[in-house]
């Protein structure tokens, strides 16, 4: 039976982890490679890096991070943030990323998804969306949530599926950072509208939220950042909790 996945996400800026696990035995708490290794040793089903480097001149730092991580972690590694072109995707894959998530570029130029999935295969193309509720629909925001594209999320994801996206990473902007749980209504609406797997993101504050993301949101995988940071919960604890709630996980 296919297991639901738990994916810890690390925000990386200028090659350093912004928030992270605070363990005494870490030699360098800001090193994304060490953090990723702790997660993969702890049973993370995948690792996700979100590059939030603002300036262009420091963009290359992520390549070095990915390259070093892929030599230490032997679970899938997804990298997103600032991915604009086929060339960016190619570079990340060559450094050892297994999947690349595309957000703003997919809205501005949907051909990037079409061409990259043709060139590299759908299995490595994740389309990430930031969605915000407006009336009875959800709209897609770009540029880290700053710009409203006006696009209807449910229609947009269908188009991305047709363009060859292998997975969707769906973040609720209404919930992101609130720790009150995923927007399971958004998740389940999108999940039932497409045939590709959905990764739920945004709003996790406790382990029950992970359960809700899967049971109510119909997500194939749940992504979380802050609950795994500072040792609040380990990935292993999360898995045991999901297991106790009858959710199939890899233990």
């Amino acid at each position: 039976m296919l297991k639901n996945r738990i994916i810890p996400c690390l925000d990386v800026k200028n090659g350093r982890v912004v928030k992270g696990i605070n363990f005494v035995d870490l030699k360098d708490a800001g090193d994304p490679v060490e953090q990723a290794k702790i997660y993969s040793d702890g049973g993370a089903d995948e690792i996700c890096f979100l590059d939030i480097t603002a300036s262009n001149e420091n963009r290359d730092t992520i390549y070095d991070v990915v390259e070093r991580t892929s030599k230490k972690c032997f679970v899938p590694l997804t990298v997103g943030g600032g991915v604009r072109s086929i060339d960016d995707i190619n570079k990340l894959l060559n450094c050892g990323a297994d999947k690349v998530s595309i957000n703003t570029a997919a809205v501005e130029n949907p051909k990037v998804v079409l061409e990259s999935s043709k060139k590299f295969g759908s299995q490595c193309i994740v389309v990430a969306i930031d969605a915000k509720k407006n009336g009875d629909k959800w709209e897609i925001f770009t540029h880290g949530g700053r710009n409203n594209s006006g696009l209807d999320a449910l229609e947009y994801v269908k188009k991305m599926e047709d363009n060859g996206a292998g997975e969707l990473l769906v973040t609720s902007m209404d919930r992101d950072g609130t720790q009150i749980g995923y927007d399971v209504e958004l998740m389940s609406n999108i999940a039932s509208n497409v045939n590709i797997p959905l990764i739920a993101s945004g709003g996790v504050g406790n382990l029950d939220h992970l359960v809700d993301g899967i049971k109510l949101g119909n997500a194939s995988a749940v992504l979380a950042a802050s609950i795994f940071h500072y040792g609040k919960h380990s990935v292993q604890e999360a898995k045991e909790y999901l297991d106790s709630k009858g959710i199939p996980v890899r233990i």
Partner: protein, 208 residues
Amino acid sequence: MKVTIVDYNSGNISSVINSFKEVAKDKVNIEVTADLNKIKSSDKVVLPGQGSFKSCVDALNKINGLTETLTEFAINNKKPLLGICVGLQMFADIGYEETETKGLGWISGKVSKIDNRNGKYKLPHIGWNQINIVKQSKLFENVENNSHMYFVHSYEFIPEDKNVISATTDYSSNIVCSVETENIFGTQFHPEKSDKLGLKIIYNFISI
């Protein structure tokens, strides 16, 4: 000993390279190339494959003499070869992804789209699934039955001779996830992404 990972522009193979180098340490020489002479002189060959069946077959055929060299290596000389994901699928006679495409024809059978039962199952089949080991296998030495492996695919290999199947996995149907003949090995899952147990499988292949 020399193990060659065939680099034929089949997509992203860095994870395959990293995992083999991790397992090999300094004891085994891991070569990444499409050079025919280097392949011929190898002790073992790894045939990765990402993207579509058609794109991988096309990429193989683009390199003059590569298909013949691999066939000579695996079929005539019976040296160990491991196909991963589409690398395994290409063992088939024929694949139906994008368009009907001829495979290597090493193991009779076809590669078809996984039946998603009218949308009840998501495709690609992505994530960790358990393998059901159905025959004694060199690859699965010290790997327990029902171990989890990482999958990502929408097409499945359906061999004619069921005796080649060494493991299956349960999704919308019972999917063939590993085949083994005398010297030809293949995994539909990605051992290079399947954590410690995946590395164990790579170790087992290197140790054959």
